[in-house]
């Protein structure tokens, strides 16, 4: 049996071919500390020369017991943990969690809060795709792209900081609405971004889309068929690049997505290049949604006035006894949710982000399971990697666009 320098692979014998056991092929450890795995992902590779015969992902290095920790917190306090799952899509995680809580306790959300939720999650989707395009291009040796895409991402993070005070871990979306109304500078900041960003995507595309060096690494590499994708539970841009038109924003509109006019880009090739094109197109569509939502941003409250679940505004606490009681009860005990379970899902930049939430009649979630898209998307990696060069594996990993915090939870 072949032996890695530090790790015995005896208990992984059944996963590699007989040739590895005879020492004919090479076993190579890629990661957990490897710049191209975008986090602490370990891949055990069985190589015949430079061809990948088997790829065995090893995950869990970033496991922090988020689900167990959330069970010990009230519904409001558990929300801060959702930010830490998929740290490229923090607003989207908050949205998924809050929608699950709202569905469980049957809470309404005012229209202005819904529009703000849409604007921020779509900006976050763009930011997430910008990180993807930067790091993906960096892996494929297009160094400058990283600087350009992070320049634009910085602008989005500034908008998040403007509304919530935090660049990444925002916790801005709360059950029943959002934390507080946006400041007056918000509209101008988003308008600035809408104005410059289409030109910037054109620049990215001028750099990358027809670049022969990039095409060599992307075209026809890592082909994922529709059937394999569905069997592995792959969702999001990867599924859409394999020819399945499935976007929860269109199929099951939530938070008012039915009001906005946008298309869901779908490609049928299923290779790295199709995934690249789908994501680039998605950035343009997200920007369209942001613009429409901003143009039709309704006035009104940003939090539900159901005082049993949503704390009263600060101004009321000074004058109303009842408001003081509600405030006190909500921040000490929390609110009770029924003894029932629901599943609610949103479309994150990586796919279906589902929340399975079960209440037990008390103020803490009895069981919460985050169905994170990266987990399934990495599960399909062994299928994609087989038969490709190690160098192409880097391109495939980049095109899957996973976040380790999302996988390990």
């Amino acid at each position: 049996m072949a032996q890695l320098q530090e790790v015995s692979v005896d208990d992984l014998k059944h996963l590699v071919s007989n040739r590895a056991i005879e020492g004919e092929t090479m076993l190579l450890n890629m990661g957990p500390q490897h710049p191209a795995t975008h986090g602490v992902l370990r891949l055990l590779l069985e190589l015949d020369g430079e061809i990948v015969i088997n790829c065995i992902p090893d995950i869990g290095f970033l496991h922090t017991g988020v689900e167990k920790n959330m069970e010990a917190k009230t519904y409001q306090k558990a929300e801060v943990m959702t930010d830490r799952l998929d740290y490229m899509n923090t607003v989207g995680n908050n949205l998924a969690y809050c929608m699950a809580v709202e569905k469980l306790v049957d809470l309404d959300v005012p229209p202005r809060a819904q529009a703000l939720r849409v604007i921020l999650t779509e900006l976050q989707r763009i930011a997430s795709h910008l990180v993807w395009i930067g790091t993906h291009a960096l892996d494929l040796a297009a160094m400058s792209m990283f600087m350009y895409s992070f320049r634009e991402r910085e602008q989005i993070l500034d908008i998040l900081e403007l509304v919530s005070g935090q660049r990444m871990m925002t916790t801005y979306i709360r059950p029943g609405g959002v934390w507080r109304d946006v400041p007056v500078e918000f509209e101008g900041a988003v308008r600035d971004f809408i104005k410059i960003f289409p030109k910037r995507i054109d620049e990215y595309e001028a750099l990358l889309t027809k670049n022969p060096f990039l095409l060599d690494r992307l075209l026809g590499i890592g082909v994922l068929t529709k059937e394999t994708a569905l069997s592995y539970g792959v969702t999001g841009p990867i599924l859409r690049a394999s020819g399945v038109d499935w976007d929860l924003r269109k199929a099951r509109p939530y938070t008012g997505y039915e009001q906005y006019d946008f298309i869901v880009p779908v490609r049928t090739e299923g290779d790295n290049y199709a995934r690249y094109l789908v994501r680039v197109q998605e950035m343009r569509e997200s920007l369209k949604i942001v613009e429409q939502a901003l143009n039709n941003l309704p006035m009104g409250p940003v939090r539900s006035d159901n005082r049993k679940f949503v704390p009263p505004p600060r101004s009321e606490i000074g004058t109303s006894m009842e408001a003081l009681i509600h405030h006190f009860k909500l921040w000490t005990e929390g609110f009770d949710a029924p003894k029932a379970s629901i599943y609610s899902a949103v479309e994150s930049p990586r796919g279906e982000l589902g929340v399975f939430l079960e209440g037990d009649g008390g103020p803490k979630p009895y069981r919460i399971h985050m169905r994170t898209p990266s987990f399934e998307n990495v599960g399909v990696l062994p299928e994609l990697a087989k038969g490709h060069l190690v160098a192409d594996l880097i391109a495939i990993i980049g095109s899957i666009d996973f976040v380790l915090g999302d996988i390990d939870r």
Binding site: G65, S231, G233, E358
Partner: protein, 170 residues
């Protein structure tokens, strides 16, 4: 509940004799462990649920018998429907037949449930821990597994706590 979903639930009740609950428009059907592979296969091939969205479990210790529920959340892309199948599992030597033959993504999700709840999946090709270290003892998401914490050290009790802390051996 959606009309199309109602027809599917009725068909399942007829074919497998499953009981059923509804909450906020979601259909939850209950199956026995030995039925689950047939139910999932039938949902995929006959009723068009081509995506296994989520696969997880809940521990009802100590209040409820059977102790565990394994939960299969399926999505139909063509019909735009969702259905949840729940499998109650007893506390002693909990095990459920694997559905890796039906959906490939069940491989990792079943490993996760084994890791977190200690429910075995009969016939699973590679049932190892996935998130916790391989030599971990216990199954963290069980309700009788305590949530760990670190004692805060202050000046007055620094040495007392330091003695109890596990450090790596030289």
């Amino acid at each position: 509940m959606d009309n199309k979903l109602e027809i599917i639930v009725e068909a399942l009740q007829k074919d497998f004799g499953l009981s059923f609950e509804e909450f906020r428009g979601e259909a939850h059907v209950f199956a026995r462990p030995e039925q689950i592979v047939d139910v999932i296969t039938s949902l995929r091939d006959v009723h068009g649920f081509e995506l296994l969205s989520a696969l997880t479990a809940v521990d009802y210790w100590p209040g409820q018998e059977p102790r565990f529920h394994v939960i299969y959340q399926l999505t139909s892309i063509a019909k735009n429907l969702s259905i949840q199948v729940r499998v109650p599992v007893a506390a002693i030597r909990p095990s459920v037949p694997t559905v890796t033959g039906v959906f490939a993504c069940a491989d990792w999700r079943e490993r996760e449930i084994w890791d977190m709840f200690g429910i075995r999946f009969d016939g699973h090709p590679d049932l190892r821990r996935i998130l916790m270290p391989a030599d971990w003892e216990g199954h963290p998401l069980r309700k009788d597994y305590p949530l760990g914490y670190e004692e805060p050290q202050f000046t007055f009790n620094f040495e007392e706590i330091d003695l109890r802390k596990p450090y790596a051996k030289e």
